[in-house]
C-alpha cells in the first residue's frame, strides 16, 4: 500500500502552476503540505484525486500501489473514489446533505458502495459514529450539529468507504482552536489506524499536532521537506522560518498602555439570540488607546458584544454609552471576511474617492496612508475580488483610518488570513494603536493572539 508521486507538474493556460513535486506516502505516517493560499498545495491534492479544474493538466507519475493514475480514463479514476482514495471535504457542514440525517449519510456508504444489508449498514454506521463520540447524533440533521460534529460525521462517512488513502484539504478552515485540536487528533488516529494520510494546511499548529512528514510549498515549488516536528523546530528555508515565527504564540507581547478617556461603556448588558442567553448583566468599557480582546469558542456572543458597543445592535437590557467627545464616525470595524465588507461593484479607488467626497477629506490623505499600509497604488484600480485577502483587509483598515476612529473593532479580522498575512495585518493594527492612540477591540478565537496583543482579555462562554 503506497502512493508515490514523481515529478508532478501541473500546467495551466498561463503557465506552470506546480513545478515537479515528488513525494511518497506510506501507511501510518501522515504527510503535511504546508503553504500559503495559492502556493499550489491544493492543486497537488486535486491531481491525486483526479478533480483538477478544466484547463489544467498534470504531468509526471502518480503511482497508487504501483499503478499510474494519470493515464487512466476519468471513469476508472472515478471508480477509485471512496474505495481507494477518499477526500475529506473542506467545510464539512456544506459537504453533508442538508436534508438527510447524519446516520443515513454514513450508512449509505456501507449499503450502496459495499452492498451490505440495510440493517447491517445501520449497525455499522452507528458503531462508527459512536466510535467518533457521536452517540445519539445519528438521528439529527447536519444543521442541528455543530461544526466539529459535522466534521466527524464526514470523517465517519469517509472512513466507511474504506479507502487506504485519505486526503484532507484545509480540514481546520473556520474551526476555532479547540475544534482544531480535536480534528487534528482524529486525523492522526486515522493515520495510526494504518491509512495513508495527506493533509493540506496553512496551519502550523495542525502540522505540529499531526506529526509525520512535512513539505513546505511556495509559489508552486517545494522549498523544504522533512520530518515533523523537527522541520518546524529548526526551519532551514527563510519562508518556513517566517511561517513558524508567524504563529501568535511566538509573537512578542504588545506594549501595555494605560487607558485614557472612556470611549464606550456598557452597563448591565443582556442579550439573547436564537432563544439562548449570550450574556446577562455584562459590564464593559474601553478607554482611549486601550487594546481589549474578547475570546471564546464560536457562537459565544463575541461578535454580538462588539456590535452592541458599536451601536450596531441593541441590548435586550442594559445600556451602552459613548463618550461625548467621540466623533459620530469614531467607531469603526474590520470584518472577518473582508470580501463581504466591500461592495463588489466598484473599484477600491472609487470606494475611497466616494468616502473622501462624502466627508470632505483632503485628497492626499489616502495617498499618504497607502505606503504606510504597504499597499501599491495600482491596486486602487481593482475590484475587491481582484486583490488578496490580506490586501483587502489592509484596505479595510485604510478606509477606517481615513475617519480617525477612536476605536477599531477587529472582528476575527485575521482568522481567514494566512499566518504570515495575519502577522502583517496585526502589526499594522499595533502601529495604529501606538501612533494614533486608537483603541482596539479584538474579537478572536485564538487565545494566544488575544493574550499577546491585548492588555485585557475578556473570556466569554466559559
Amino acid at each position: 500500500m503506497s502512493l508515490i508521486v514523481e515529478k508532478l507538474r501541473i500546467r495551466g493556460p498561463e503557465g506552470v502552476l506546480v513545478q515537479g513535486a515528488s513525494f511518497a506516502l506510506a501507511p501510518g505516517e501522515p504527510l503535511v503540505l504546508l503553504g500559503e493560499t495559492g502556493s499550489g498545495k491544493s492543486l497537488l491534492a486535486q491531481a491525486v484525486m483526479g478533480t483538477l479544474p478544466p484547463g489544467l493538466r498534470a504531468e509526471g507519475r502518480i503511482l497508487l500501489d504501483g499503478r499510474d493514475l494519470l493515464p487512466l480514463p476519468p471513469r476508472e479514476r472515478r471508480a477509485l473514489w471512496g474505495r481507494r482514495i477518499a477526500m475529506l471535504p473542506q467545510e464539512p457542514w456544506a459537504a453533508l446533505d442538508p436534508t438527510m440525517r447524519a446516520e443515513a449519510q454514513v450508512a449509505e456508504v456501507d449499503r450502496l458502495v459495499h452492498r451490505h444489508g440495510a440493517a447491517e449498514a445501520r449497525r455499522r454506521a452507528a458503531a462508527r459514529l459512536a466510535h467518533l463520540g457521536l452517540q445519539g447524533a445519528g438521528r439529527r440533521y447536519p444543521f442541528q450539529l455543530s461544526g466539529g460534529m459535522n466534521q466527524r460525521v464526514a470523517l465517519a462517512a469517509t472512513e466507511a468507504a474504506g479507502a487506504a488513502l485519505l486526503i484532507a484539504d484545509e480540514p481546520t478552515k473556520g474551526l476555532d482552536a479547540a475544534l482544531r485540536d480535536t480534528a487534528g487528533a482524529l486525523l492522526r488516529a486515522e493515520a495510526e489506524a494504518g491509512r495513508m494520510l495527506l493533509v493540506i494546511t496553512h496551519d502550523v499548529a495542525l502540522a505540529r499536532l499531526l506529526g509525520g512528514q512535512a513539505m513546505v510549498m511556495l509559489s508552486g515549488a517545494v522549498v523544504e521537506a522533512g520530518a515533523l516536528p523537527g522541520l518546524l523546530e529548526a526551519p532551514q528555508h527563510d519562508y518556513t522560518r517566517r511561517l513558524v515565527a508567524a504563529e501568535p504564540s511566538r509573537w512578542q507581547d504588545w506594549p501595555r498602555r494605560p487607558p485614557g478617556r472612556a470611549i464606550v461603556e456598557g452597563n448591565g448588558l443582556h442579550k439573547r439570540l436564537g432563544g439562548r442567553e449570550l450574556f446577562g448583566g455584562l459590564d464593559m468599557s474601553i478607554g482611549e488607546g486601550e487594546v481589549v480582546a474578547v475570546a471564546g469558542p464560536s457562537g459565544c456572543g463575541k461578535t454580538t458584544l462588539g456590535n452592541l458597543l458599536l451601536g450596531l445592535a441593541r441590548p435586550d437590557r442594559g445600556q451602552v454609552r459613548r463618550g461625548a467627545w467621540v466623533a459620530p464616525l469614531g467607531l469603526q470595524k474590520l470584518y472577518q471576511d473582508p470580501v463581504a465588507a466591500f461592495t463588489p461593484h466598484q473599484t477600491l479607488g472609487q470606494g475611497i474617492a466616494e468616502l473622501r467626497r462624502r466627508h470632505g477629506l483632503a485628497e492626499d490623505r489616502a495617498a499618504g496612508l497607502l505606503p504606510r499600509l504597504r499597499l501599491q497604488p495600482a491596486l486602487l484600480g481593482r475590484r475587491p475580488s481582484e486583490v488578496s485577502g490580506g490586501e483587502l483587509q489592509r484596505f479595510g483598515l485604510l478606509r477606517a483610518l481615513l475617519l480617525d476612529p477612536a476605536l477599531l473593532f477587529a472582528d476575527e479580522a485575521t482568522s481567514r488570513l494566512d499566518p504570515l498575512t495575519q502577522q502583517e495585518v496585526m502589526a499594522l493594527l499595533r502601529e495604529c494603536v501606538e501612533e494614533r492612540g486608537t483603541a482596539l477591540l479584538l474579537v478572536t478565537h485564538e487565545t494566544a493572539l488575544a493574550e499577546k496583543a491585548a492588555g485585557r482579555v475578556l473570556r466569554l462562554g466559559t
Binding site: L329, A340, A341, T343, H345, E354
Partner: protein, 260 residues
C-alpha cells in the same frame, strides 16, 4: 455557450425583431389596406408574407405590430418594473409596518387573478391600449416587488452594508452602490419575462374578448383574429408567435443570468 456569446445571440434576435419593425415599412404596403378579393394568400410576389383574412399585407401588419407590441410590452414591463422595484427597495430599507403592509398587499394582489385586474381596468376604456397594458403592469409589479425586496433584504444583511453605514456613507450610497447592482441583475431577467408575459397576456385577453380595438395590428390580437383560419393559413397564425418567441428568447439571452 459562454455568457458573452449568449448575450450576443440574444442581442442579435432583438436586433432582428427591431430591424423588422423598422425595415418592414420599406416594403411600402399599408398595414390597414384591405383587399377582400385577395384574402389569406400564401407568401408570394407582392405580399412577401401573404395576406390575412381581410386581405391585408402580413409583412406590413407584423412590422407595424412589432412597433406596437414591442413598444407597449416594454412599456408595460417598465411600468411594472420601476414602481415594483422601487417599492421593493423601499420596503427592504424601511422595514417595519410599511414593509409588512406592502408584503400583505403584494400577497393579496398576487392572489387576485391578473386577468381579472386587466379585464376590470380595460373595461374603463375598451379597446384602448394604455389601460390594457396598465392592467398588465398592475399584475406584474408584484414579482418585481418581491424579487427586489428579497434581494435587497439579503444584501442589507451583509457586512458590506453595515460597513458602509459605519463609514457614514448614506442611504443613497447604499442604494446606489450596494442594492441596485444586485437588484438590477435580477430585475433585468425578470424584465425579459415580463415583456413576454405582457404580449401573451394581451393575446389571451383578445381571445376572451377584451382586446385591442380593430384594426390595430397588435401581435396578440392578430393571432386571435387569425385563429379561425388556422387550417387555411397556418403560417399567418404562427408568424406573430414566431416574433414573440424571438423577442422573449432574445430578451432572456440578453438579460443573461440563469433564472426562471
Amino acid at each position: 455557450m459562454t455568457l458573452s456569446s449568449r448575450r450576443l445571440l440574444g442581442g442579435a434576435m432583438l436586433a432582428a425583431v427591431a430591424g423588422f419593425a423598422l425595415l418592414g415599412p420599406l416594403h411600402g404596403a399599408d398595414p390597414l389596406r384591405q383587399n377582400l378579393s385577395a384574402t389569406l394568400l400564401p407568401p408570394g410576389a407582392g405580399h412577401p408574407l401573404g395576406t390575412d383574412h381581410l386581405g391585408r399585407d402580413m409583412l406590413a401588419r407584423l412590422a407595424a405590430g412589432a412597433r406596437l407590441s414591442f413598444g407597449y410590452a416594454l412599456l408595460a414591463a417598465l411600468a411594472a418594473a420601476v414602481p415594483g422595484t422601487l417599492l421593493g427597495l423601499l420596503a427592504a430599507l424601511r422595514g417595519g409596518w410599511p414593509e409588512r403592509l406592502l408584503l400583505g398587499l403584494a400577497d393579496a394582489v398576487q392572489a387576485l387573478p391578473a386577468l381579472l385586474l386587466v379585464v376590470l381596468v380595460t373595461a374603463f376604456a375598451p379597446g384602448e391600449f394604455l389601460p390594457l397594458y396598465i392592467g398588465v403592469a398592475l399584475a406584474l409589479w408584484v414579482e418585481f416587488f418581491r424579487i427586489s425586496r428579497n434581494t435587497a433584504a439579503g444584501v442589507l444583511a451583509r457586512p458590506q452594508v453595515e460597513a458602509a453605514r459605519l463609514l457614514g456613507l448614506g442611504t443613497g450610497h447604499i442604494l446606489r452602490r450596494h442594492l441596485w447592482p444586485e437588484v438590477a441583475a435580477l430585475t433585468a431577467t425578470l424584465f425579459a419575462f415580463a415583456a413576454g408575459t405582457a404580449v401573451t397576456t394581451v393575446a389571451a385577453l383578445a381571445f376572451v374578448g377584451v382586446g385591442a380595438r380593430p384594426p390595430v395590428p397588435e401581435w396578440g390580437s392578430m393571432m386571435t383574429e387569425l385563429l379561425p383560419y388556422h387550417a387555411e393559413a397556418p403560417l399567418a397564425l404562427l408568424l406573430p408567435a414566431l416574433l414573440i418567441f424571438l423577442t422573449v428568447l432574445g430578451l432572456h439571452l440578453l438579460a443573461g443570468r440563469e433564472r426562471a
